[in-house]
């Protein structure tokens, strides 16, 4: 194509969509691809340009690394399935369209707008030794002295409180996706199943869930990736008692001013996210195209 042809194409109606997406593309390139490249550089290269695995070694050798890795995976492994079941139950409940179900859904979605830091602090107000759980237990006469839930000795409780806080905060994310997915399933399928004798549990298992697979997949991927990045909740509830990968990335820069090791942590998170997403896509592949 010569120059006039190119110019004419550029101002034609056909080129319009490309002009419209150009700003977004440029922005994404600048703020995603470039940082990704830089993170790789930061993690694998020293300031004077030498390629090295030193930062990864430092990361792994750090006293907190193993715990961070462990706790991050534990959190994800507990929170995500828990949320899935809860969200699915609520979604099915809402789908029965009982009276007030819309308001109910709206209430359940309130946590969507709550930041992870605020959520962490809210649950901190419950679990701290001066917190409401202790007050409640005392009012019931079950205890005399406050229980120190959020302490070194009670790591289990700290993790538990993080799980609860995350569950409280983020179930709405999964819920909204599932509700939308459920709404898209035509009632005709369920009515047909009923006519052919299926009972409620059978309808759920054979009709609803398979048709919900794409939504389940979306929800799982998003929630898992976000769960891997748990940070502020853990800090609000336990400080560094329960280290998590994202938290370590933060502290390595914020406290130790070492952007290289922080980048190593970031890359590790990315790799785990990709692996899990790939796993979900592979093993939860919906068999037919949804209408």
């Amino acid at each position: 194509m010569n120059r006039t042809q190119v110019t004419r194409w550029l101002v034609s109606e056909k080129a319009l969509p490309y002009w419209l997406i150009f700003p977004t593309l440029a922005y994404v390139a600048a703020f995603f691809l470039v940082p990704l490249a830089r993170t790789l550089l930061l993690a694998f290269r020293t300031d004077d340009g030498q390629w090295t695995m030193r930062f990864f070694v430092r990361m792994v050798e750090d006293v907190r690394f193993f715990d961070a890795f462990k706790f991050t995976l534990i959190l994800v492994a507990i929170v995500v399935p828990l949320q899935l079941v809860t969200a699915l139950s609520i979604a099915l409940l809402v789908n029965t369209r009982f009276r007030g179900s819309r308001s109910f859904l709206y209430i359940c979605a309130i946590p969507l707008g709550i930041s992870d830091l605020a959520a962490g602090l809210i649950w901190f107000s419950l679990f701290t030794e001066h917190g409401y759980i202790n007050s409640f237990l005392y009012t019931l006469g079950l205890i005399d002295k406050p229980i120190y839930f959020l302490s070194m000795q009670n790591l289990g409780w700290v993790v538990g409180s993080i799980v609860l806080a995350e569950h409280w905060r983020a179930t709405a994310i999964v819920l909204v996706i599932l509700v939308a997915g459920l709404q898209m399933i035509s009632r005709d399928y369920l009515e047909a199943a009923e006519v052919f004798g299926a009972r409620p549990w059978q309808k759920l298992w054979h009709v609803t869930l398979p048709l919900l697979k794409p939504s389940l997949q979306s929800a799982l991927i998003i929630r898992t990736i976000l769960a891997l990045q748990t940070f502020a909740v853990a800090v609000a509830l336990g400080g560094r008692l329960v280290p998590v990968l994202a938290g370590e990335a933060y502290y390595w820069y914020y406290l130790y001013r070492n952007a290289n090791v922080a980048s190593a942590y970031a890359l590790l998170l990315m790799v785990i996210s990709l692996l899990l997403a790939w796993g979900y896509l592979r093993f939860l592949r919906p068999r037919e195209v949804r209408s």
Binding site: E13, P17, L20, I21, P23, T24, Y27, V28, F31, F32, P35, R38, T39, R97, F104, L105, Y106, I107, A109, I110, G113, S115, D116, L117, A118, L121, I122, F124, S125, L126, T128, N134, S135, T139, K145, I177, L178, V179, G181, M184, P214, S215, S218, I225, Q229, F231, A232, V235, A236, G239, A246, Y250, Y253, Y254, A259, A262, Y265, L269, M270, A277
Partner: protein
Amino acid sequence: MTFPRLQRRILLYMAVVAIVLWVLVPLVLIALAAFTPRSELYRWPKRIIPSTFSSATMSFFLHSYGVVSSLCNSVVVALLTLGMTLVVGAPAGYAVARYVFRGREAFRLGILMTRMFPTSLLAIPLIVTFIRWGLYDTLIGVAFVHTAMALPFAVLITSGIFSGVPKELEEAAMTLGCSRLGAFVRVALPLALPGLAAAAMFTFVISWNEVFAASILTVRNRTLPAQVLASLEAAPLDFRFAGAFFMIIPALIFMALARRYLFQMWGGAIAER
């Protein structure tokens, strides 16, 4: 679905009440905590409902070092993010909704995939870049990063919104004398406005709540979450509680306002892949 038996209905409503309590009680409690005077906060045994309500806790929080300025900073950053995200993302959403062009699916997929990037991956390398460009510790710098984080949502949501405006309406306007842009402004935009407003509020909330990048990229010009996080270790109870309450206020307002558009927006845009 019908509930032939009374027991089922009772069970249903019990479940509903339980879940509603689960969601609302922590919010009520933090609100209570934010208005409980400090002396009562530290008392044991602590009463759940304080004997007196006091605004001292809130006031302590607000007067703490850096809080008011960080509050303003958060508002500024959120507004900047809002503006930039819509200006950059809405046209892309419109393009995806209206035009079938080569690379459309690749574009959508690419946008979706950016959600897989951990925030740390975005923010940490930008430290160096921002320092070099003089954007480190500035509000606009944080806004840039927030916009990057909100863009995928914005594109997806606006494409859903514009899909909901039938193409034929714009075509009708064009046959009646509007130019392409005129048809968009007079027909598509007014009809998309409520949805766009909801998307705007959603972006505002994302920016308002963001902690990691804001903490990493600022030192003196912190946003509210960054300030709270930085002060957390040394902070007394009343600071933490009041801070939490303060942070959730916009979210609650947003939820009240955007109620109708929430599901159209969120669920539909993300569930459809």
